[in-house]
Subunit: 259 residues, 2 copies
């Protein structure tokens, strides 16, 4: 029993340390990508080297760091920040982090199932444009996007450069008006075998799954998307306000929105 308690305490401590280190790893907080020695980390966190090793194991299992005997611990992967401040396409939000390219895996006019028709407010028998893209940042697979578009704004995409452009930017050009609001849900799911293969991730890897229904600024819903982001490559960042009606918050909110 005492042994089990000690084990539990050590695992709890390792999780605490891992969470604090994760942020520095993900945020590029370690100079040259090298983490401090285990002994230094043990001092910093006031814990044993065994606990530090457990914490580093957790981050290694997440694919964030690598541990090599003789070399030490180094940052293995970068997580890119996707803004939650405003509605942005992937290339727009990751502009500073590399070039987004899109592999179009499928594209065509289809008869939508009722679930799509309902959300896009379409009459029966009205076809939609379906686009499936594997999206890469600097050549590395980042997300798999399944997109249903109303015909009016979707059909002109057949002649557009989807490889180098966000659909959002193209839609605004086609519609001659800006996008308005998007309804968003965010979930965490495990990658099934086929999705894992497409995203070049291990089977079961944690994915950020985003469902997004985007409207034009005139209110029409035009774009229903199901996006699977690799969890080890992307983090969503935003701000939440306690009092959304407080006028004192609004200027601060806008200023932050624009960062």
């Amino acid at each position: 029993m005492e042994l089990a308690d000690a084990r539990r305490r050590r695992a709890d401590r390792a999780r605490q340390v891992a969470d604090l280190l994760r942020r520095e790893v993900v945020g590029g907080g370690f100079d040259g990508g090298h983490l401090p020695l285990e002994s230094a980390l043990a001092r910093e966190f006031g814990t044993s080297r065994n606990t530090i090793r457990d914490a580093l194991d957790l981050l290694r299992d997440e694919g964030l760091i690598e541990r090599c005997p003789g070399v030490g611990t180094t940052v293995a992967a970068e997580k890119f920040p996707h803004g939650l401040h405003r509605l942005l396409g992937l290339a727009e939000t990751l502009r500073e982090h590399g070039e987004v390219t899109n592999e179009v895996r499928a594209m065509g006019l289809i008869q939508p199932p009722a679930a799509v028709r309902g959300r896009l407010h379409l009459p029966p028998d009205e076809p939609v444009v379906y686009v499936e893209r594997l999206r890469r940042l600097s050549g590395l697979p980042l997300s798999l996007d399944l997109t249903y578009l109303v015909r009016e704004v979707g059909e002109p995409l057949f002649d557009a450069d989807l490889v180098h452009n966000d659909v959002f930017v193209l839609l605004e050009r086609i519609a001659g008006q800006p996008l308005g609001v998007a309804e968003l849900t965010i979930e965490a799911v495990n990658a099934d075998a086929h999705t894992a293969a497409v995203l070049d991730a291990p089977r079961g890897a944690a994915l950020l799954m985003v469902e997004r229904l985007t409207h034009l600024s005139d209110g029409r819903p035009v774009d229903l998307e199901f996006v699977r982001f690799r969890g080890d490559r992307l983090t969503m960042r935003g701000h939440l306000w306690r009092n959304t009606d407080d006028p004192g918050q609004q200027p601060g909110r806008r200023a932050r929105d624009d960062r």
Copy 2:
């Protein structure tokens, strides 16, 4: 090669169907929790029964549905919506869905590591209050929360009812002012063995990992949290605007914020 192509096409189709069904499953769209027969789904989605079976397998693997011979396919789990509209505690946001109770796994005054001290803007040697809670909704484990609080607002929590109250609500009472803004990051991670055991989830289960730094309305950062939500029990919901400065959007935004 043709066989591989056919397999890929069928897997791609199954994913499309699963995504559309997922929303209806999660949103309670099926009467009495019973999904239609495979043959009806095949008609609805214009695809083969084999593809429907593959799609249902994907949702079963996510823990969302159960398939019993003779009984059919039923919804196995409810996903609860966590608002992304404003800064809310768990009990506040899930009020309509059940009772949130919190098991305090650890609580104490600790010397914070530099990473915590820096984010909470604390001088050296200033201790913080650490609270670790397993949070349940209607008795089911939902999240594991690691919380670091500045001493001034954290110490009074030792005498508070943490089992039945959100920390947010207690903090506002203690500080005598509302909370202000929180910086938020959202990631998807796989559950390590120990965390999985605490959350009663399979090892490797996808978790929504939220890091949140919350300020009082006077601007002071007081509450740094690391929250792991079970991915199969929670979905985050919000709205994003394309143009955050468009005054025409603001009234709509507020109205939606208050839903």
